[in-house]
């Protein structure tokens, strides 16, 4: 068998939350629709936001990947699609799902598993987490006819427990941030094994090269600007003796975070040619990469690592009292909600678990005055909290109506 070639592992995360629409205390007990009602141009209007991101990012980017996969049989990529996004695409842009189906059918695109609601359930309720993972797995099988063999938790939130769980659940590979304090002297460009596991392998994000695209690509004050495919390949080749370049990022990097006029699409179209010029180079999907190379070491991650902010922890979602109070309150309802058997109520409760809701309540950046760093459909973290907690009170109202003591 031939020696496996050095590979770029391109993984893109597709997710849109169902944002909570304006919902005041006057609505509590009267109206149980939390995710609709905002004016069409409002940033909380889910259909409007979905259509916008589909036009700017999903459609042109997926079309580009379809062309690249025809042009270069060696081109591979991996995607994940949250359940909340799949539902919205089915409702408003089913053509996007069709393109992904065609990509998956080529065998050049792997779909990565996650939890359906893009939630932090792993840290609050294992039973609920496992339910959401199996819901997602089922949905992916139904729509695309494939079963995920790789797993990535919400916001790349990872620790030993998660790796242990994924190993037992039969996944071949799990993904995490390649954060220096975890890797120590190690490079993110190898396959690893999480401690306390038997089979599963770990791929870690090369955050420097990933963030060159995801965050810095269009920044004209960045010393690397303008970034061409040729320059990028030369940077990747500094690690010529290491097997993998793990480029993990939001799908919306293409066309939304980096607008078309930054040249991000031209860059991506040129990358396969530049990279494959060298015959020892290839592209691999996540599972291919993890199974093509043997683990070189074990990685111990007792504390939770995410891919957010300089802290790389969960504080962007649970760091202040509003956030921890809101998420704790929601999970405190679990037993009553589940035992009610009311599927509409259960679904609303699950949709309120999406991590974005808590992210909007973050106060970390609010004081900096750097409004660009602060992406939220609400004016302030406090508005986000007030609006969200009103829906929580309505869940309680609905439980009360069913005779629960809440």
């Amino acid at each position: 068998m031939n020696e496996p070639k050095r590979a770029i592992v391109l993984y893109l995360l597709m997710h849109q939350p169902l944002r909570v629409n304006p919902y005041t205390i006057f609505d509590v007990g009267k109206r149980h629709t939390y995710f609709e009602g905002a004016p069409s141009d409002d940033k909380r209007n889910n259909e409007g936001m979905l259509r916008k991101v589909a036009d700017k990012s999903y459609f042109p980017t997926l079309t580009m990947f379809e062309e690249l996969s025809k042009q270069y049989p060696e081109f591979k990529l991996s995607l994940s699609i949250s359940g909340t996004l799949l539902e919205q695409l089915e409702a408003w842009r089913p053509d996007i799902i069709d393109i992904i189906k065609r990509l998956v059918d080529t065998g050049q695109c792997e779909l990565v598993g996650e939890n359906y609601y893009h939630s932090l359930a792993f840290f609050y309720s294992r039973a609920e987490f496992e339910m959401q993972v199996s819901m997602h797995k089922q949905r992916i099988q139904d729509v695309f006819g494939v079963t995920p063999t790789a797993f990535r938790n919400t916001e790349m939130a990872y620790n030993n427990d998660l790796a242990y769980w994924a190993d037992k659940a039969g996944y071949k590979v799990i993904m995490s941030e390649g954060w220096d304090p975890i890797l120590g002297w190690r490079s993110p460009n190898f396959v690893y094994r999480p401690t306390y596991t038997n089979q599963i392998r770990l791929l870690t994000k090369n955050y420097r090269l990933s963030d060159d695209l995801a965050f810095r690509f269009g920044d004209r004050t960045w010393e690397g600007w303008p970034l061409t495919a040729e320059k990028f390949v030369s940077w990747a080749n500094k690690a010529w003796d290491q097997p993998l370049i793990n480029l993990f990022m939001d799908f919306e990097t293409f066309g939304e975070h980096q607008w078309e006029d930054t040249g991000i699409f031209d860059f991506m179209r040129a990358l396969p040619e530049q990279w494959l010029k060298n015959e020892t180079h290839s592209f691999m999907t996540v599972t291919q990469a993890a199974t093509s190379f043997d683990p070189v070491d074990t990685i111990d991650t007792p504390q939770t690592v995410t891919w957010a902010d300089v802290e790389r922890d969960l504080t962007a979602w649970t760091g202040n009292g509003m956030q921890s109070g809101a998420i704790q309150s929601l999970y405190d309802l679990q037993d009553h909600i589940i035992s009610s058997g009311d599927m509409q109520l259960i679904n609303d409760w699950r949709r309120l678990q999406t991590s974005d809701h808590f992210y909007y309540m973050c106060t970390k950046w609010f004081n900096d005055g750097d409004v660009h760093a602060y992406f939220s459909p609400y004016d302030t973290p406090y508005e986000a909290f007030i609006n969200y907690m009103n829906t929580y009170h309505d869940l309680k109202f609905r439980l009360h109506e069913k005779g629960y003591d809440v």
């Binding site: 205390i25 202040n320 809101a326 909290f385």
Partner: protein, 400 residues
């Protein structure tokens, strides 16, 4: 730079925020090498060493009866000891004559007049000396009348002062817009210099809170919403009372504390009773010192629902004393504090929503305060004083 500063009051003889703002502003200007002679309309001791304070008239401050709005009549004591009641307009004239008698007007580089009370004197000083006049707008008649038609004589003085001045300073972008829209002053003549706060003037609170009852009620699960300030139509308090009805419907263990006096007192008491809130609303008269600061400190949320508020220092005092704030969007202070709840002054439903949420969720109250206190701790007058100096220098330079 030598500045002739025309003001109406200075602490401890102030009736409101104007005197505090002038005092703190001048103190910082003095550290930035600006020499100030501050003219007040009364004779009193101030214990101020960073500038010269001069009385425009011999009347003693004890004889000057003032209300918060400086509208009431004044008792004027003549040199021969005879007394005369004069109107606020006559009082301006007396102040103006006092300015005329200052023979050294030509020694100053610039004249800086605070609010309409001193505008006539400012115009006269400019006429006599030929020096540039800066008028500083802390509040307009439009604000004081709560957006209704105000006193046309006052508006005329404000308009004349702003027209004849070389530059107009407003305490917020919001007030700049008011001055442009309601007084038709061109925007390029107006400079925004935000008020600030001297954070060192808020020492740690000590001793038991004087509002023992409220303290005890809070420990048994009640929550306290407060408004502290004048009870006048400018402050939008009838909307707050209406909102309170909605809050109590949802969170019965909520109290509303009013501390202050003013022309709306009786109206508000009656209205609270009519709304069935007699047991939920407490009225406390105007307070100073610990009785004032403890009122802020005992609250879970301070609300300033003003119809039109050029700046509004009270929310900063609340934050200094441990209490987060809900402020109307028609308030200039929202330009310098980001971490507060905001609402349009007329949006009673939004007030119900916001206040209910604070009452029901201590974590919202605590995070709001934590973040706004961090903002408060970064505040200082240095940036604003620097801006003022630039305005002075440009105005003086324009004459050369």
């Amino acid at each position: 730079m030598k500045v002739l500063m025309l003001g109406w009051e200075l602490p401890p003889h102030n009736s409101g925020g104007l005197g505090v703002a002038c005092y703190q502003m001048c103190k910082e200007l003095a550290t930035q090498s600006v020499s100030i002679e501050f003219i007040v309309p009364y004779t009193a001791k101030h214990n101020i060493d960073f500038m010269k304070v001069t009385a425009a008239t011999p009347q003693d401050v004890k004889d000057v009866i003032k209300s918060g709005i400086a509208y009431d009549s004044f008792k004027f004591i003549h040199d021969d000891g005879s007394e005369e009641w004069v109107s606020i307009f006559d009082q301006h004239r007396i102040y103006e004559r006092g300015i005329e008698s200052i023979s050294r007007l030509g020694d100053f580089d610039i004249i800086h007049a605070h609010d309409w009370l001193t505008f006539r004197a400012g115009m006269r000083a400019k006429e006599l000396s030929g020096k540039p006049l800066i008028v500083h707008v802390h509040a307009t008649e439009y604000d004081r009348s709560g957006g209704n038609a105000g006193n046309p004589l006052v508006e005329e003085i404000e308009y004349m002062g702003m027209m004849l001045a070389d530059r107009v300073i407003t305490v917020s972008e919001y007030t700049k817009q008011v001055v442009m829209k309601h007084y038709r002053i061109p925007g390029d003549k107006i400079e925004v210099v935000h008020n600030s706060i001297d954070i060192g003037s808020y020492p740690e609170q000590s001793g038991d809170n004087l509002y023992t009852y409220l303290d005890v009620m809070r420990q048994s699960g009640w929550r306290v919403i407060s408004y502290i300030g004048r009870l006048s139509v400018q402050k939008g308090l009838t909307n707050l009372l209406q909102a309170m009805r909605g809050v109590v419907d949802r969170a019965p263990k909520t109290l509303l504390l009013f501390i202050g006096s003013g022309e709306q007192y009786e109206e508000l008491v009656n209205m609270a009773a009519d709304l069935g809130l007699a047991a939920n609303v407490l009225f406390v008269d105007f307070q100073r010192g610990k009785a004032l600061t403890d009122g802020f400190a005992v609250s879970d949320l301070f609300v300033m629902p003003s119809v039109s508020e050029p700046f509004g220092i009270a929310p900063l005092e609340a934050i200094a004393l441990g209490t987060p704030t809900l402020v109307s969007k028609q308030s200039g202070v929202t330009e310098v504090v980001r971490n507060c709840l905001t609402t349009d002054f007329w949006d009673i439903d939004k007030m119900v929503d916001d206040i209910s949420s604070v009452v029901m969720h201590d974590e919202l109250r605590d995070e709001l305060h934590k973040q706004s206190y961090a903002e408060f701790c970064r505040m200082n007058w240095a940036t604003s004083a620097q801006k003022l100096r630039t305005v002075y220098e440009n105005a003086v330079g324009a004459l050369v």
